[in-house]
């Protein structure tokens, strides 16, 4: 794959990559940092990409690694993870769906976003997240169930 083709791929799938970063980090500034680092690393390691058809999957994994690096470096992360970001999401006038997604554990949230919003296949998600396909299925099912429960509880109030 040429550098130009790789650049075009990144630009054409910008929305998908934004959703992945946003599912992990949520803060737009952090998403930008992660994406910026991922692009630099993607270009520098492009020669290790063996098959062009895996470019999007390959870059997604780089991006997720960068997002997770930012998560690790960020102080007070768990507090954010559990509550503050959910509140911030609510304050920023995001949709109900996104706010509920943000309340899910990241292990459920990320596969849901990749499967339903970015259109990755289960096999691709399993490859990117380095998990078995059946584990991805389990997380998608349980994540959906948790989302549905949240909506039902809200509707009952």
């Amino acid at each position: 794959m040429t550098k130009q083709d790789f650049g075009n791929l990144i630009i054409s799938f910008t929305d998908d990559f934004y959703r992945i970063a946003k599912a992990i980090l949520k803060e737009d500034a952090d998403c930008e940092d992660a994406m910026s680092s991922a692009i630099v690393k993607g270009f520098s390691k492009l020669h290790t990409l063996k098959k062009q058809e895996y470019a999007k999957t390959w870059f997604s994994r780089i991006l997720i690694n960068e997002c997770q690096m930012i998560l690790r470096k960020r102080k007070r992360e768990v507090t954010y993870e559990e509550g503050v970001l959910a509140k911030e999401a609510a304050q920023q006038d995001y949709s109900d769906l996104y706010q509920h997604l943000m309340q899910l554990d990241i292990s459920y949230r990320l596969p849901l976003v990749m499967y339903y919003f970015d259109g990755f296949k289960i096999r691709e998600i399993a490859d990117i997240l380095e998990m078995s396909e059946s584990a991805i299925k389990m997380r998608l099912n349980r994540g959906k169930l948790q989302l549905r429960t949240m909506f039902e509880k809200e509707a009952a109030i």
């Binding site: 630009i11 934004y18 994406m35 270009f43 768990v78 996104y98 339903y116 919003f117 289960i122």
Partner: protein, 411 residues
């Protein structure tokens, strides 16, 4: 990419996900442009190889140079066990209570947990450095400064040979510095680095985590598939920024002993004569980790019956198994398995594992299926197991894969 809307329950909501901001798009375009025009290859840090001998030496030096932390507020909690019960990792309060013992009791039971508080001899040590692996592999800690005052005190810990749970509380000094903490996301056990689930409540103003005190620390490490002895040495690395932008570092450590039953690796044959291998199985108070590897040789047809389900994009299609032990108890992985993920790094590299199944061909081109589950309720010893995998489809129909069923006997 799968854009088949019949699977997409959220299709109608897709527009409700935050749209890509224009400045994000611009940043991507600018960064791509910059990278395309970058004449030189940009290199970035890669991890060095694991060096266990050096790591062990470093630990010894650290212990000699370290100081024992001075803690305040010793309390009796057993929260470490409570959190495992709440998460479903151990099955019930009653079951846990029956099998739980203090360190002194572990000699007399086949599978016992160890739940220790500081009052019962949980001796923790604080040393002003990090495990060698972290210093070698993470540039950000290269210039870190040792901090002797402990950030947390470990109040109690649970270990049963398969899972470790640690409950702690920020010290007075720790509470003064929580704004600067890096939440620890690594725990070292016998020099092997594990990725635990860690939760810390650092929010002084708004205690939004129910039942969590400010400064509470909880870590859970899945150890079912790691070959660890019953006695383990646990190291929890901590880092925090200081006012002058230096990174402070320390490691809180303690020893703890659990007791699990180790069943040796066994082989068997299925009804259709395929080879089955059950690697060493560990029975503990938190259940049994059970891995099965079917080797169908060149029999692709049998393999495909698993692979088609495992690789299906239909979320509802799944492979489970029924396990009947020698006492007649039946465990169904659909209802009674625990959703786990274990990640650790040792001299052989990275290990990622989770519940589920994999379809693959081995080095000799044999068609293989592996399946791994944790059954929390299977806590008693057994002399034999009958295993029957089955397919569950979206419409609710379930079909036993009798050709792949087998029985194993332990001597």
């Amino acid at each position: 990419m799968n854009h088949d809307s019949k699977h997409n329950d959220f299709e109608y909501e897709k527009e409700n996900f935050p749209k890509t901001p224009e400045h994000f798009k611009q940043l991507v375009a600018d960064q791509v442009e910059k990278s395309l025009n970058q004449p030189e290859t940009i290199s970035y840090h890669s991890h060095k190889k694991w060096r266990p001998a050096k790591a062990a030496a470093a630990v010894l030096i650290c212990v000699i140079a370290g100081s024992t932390g001075v803690y305040a507020g010793v309390r009796y909690h057993y929260k470490a066990q409570e959190y495992l019960q709440n998460s479903g990792r151990i099955t019930s309060t009653d079951s846990a209570a029956n099998t739980t013992s203090t360190k002194a009791d572990t000699e007399n039971s086949s599978t016992t947990t160890t739940v220790l508080s500081k009052e019962e001899g949980l001796d923790t040590t604080c040393i002003p450095t990090l495990p060698d692996f972290m210093l070698e592999n993470y540039d950000m800690y290269a210039d870190a400064i040792g901090e002797s005052q402990p950030y947390i005190t470990v109040l109690d810990a649970y270990y049963d040979g398969s899972v470790l749970s640690v409950y702690g509380q920020a010290t007075e000094f720790g509470m003064q510095t929580t704004d600067y903490w890096y939440v620890p996301d690594r725990i070292f056990i016998n020099d092997i680095m594990f990725c635990p689930n860690v939760t810390v409540n650092l929010d002084k103003q708004d205690n939004h985590l129910e039942d969590w005190e400010n400064g509470a620390f909880y870590a859970e490490v899945e150890l079912s598939d790691a070959s660890l002895p019953d006695q383990i040495h646990v190291e929890i690395p901590f880092c925090a920024d200081s006012d002058n932008d230096e990174i402070k570092m320390q490691t809180i450590s303690f020893d703890i002993t659990g007791k699990s039953l180790h069943k040796p690796e066994v082989t068997a044959s299925t009804v259709s004569s395929a080879a089955v291998t059950i690697p060493e199985t560990r029975i503990s108070a938190s259940g049994t980790y059970f891995k099965t590897v079917w080797n169908f040789g060149k029999d692709k047809k049998s393999y495909q019956k698993f692979a088609d389900i495992i690789n299906s994009d239909n979320l509802q299609d799944w492979i489970y198994c029924k396990i009947t032990d020698s006492t007649g108890m039946v465990y169904d992985s659909k209802e009674e398995s625990y959703s786990f993920q274990s990640i650790y790094f040792d001299e052989d590299g990275e290990h990622w594992n989770d519940n589920g199944a994999n379809a693959y061909t081995d080095e000799s081109g044999n068609y293989c299926i592996s399946m791994q589950v944790i059954i929390p309720k299977l806590t008693q010893d057994f002399t034999s197991l009958e295993v029957t995998p089955y397919v569950h489809l979206e419409d609710g129909t379930e079909t036993d894969l009798d050709f792949a069923s087998f029985q194993i006997d332990y001597e």
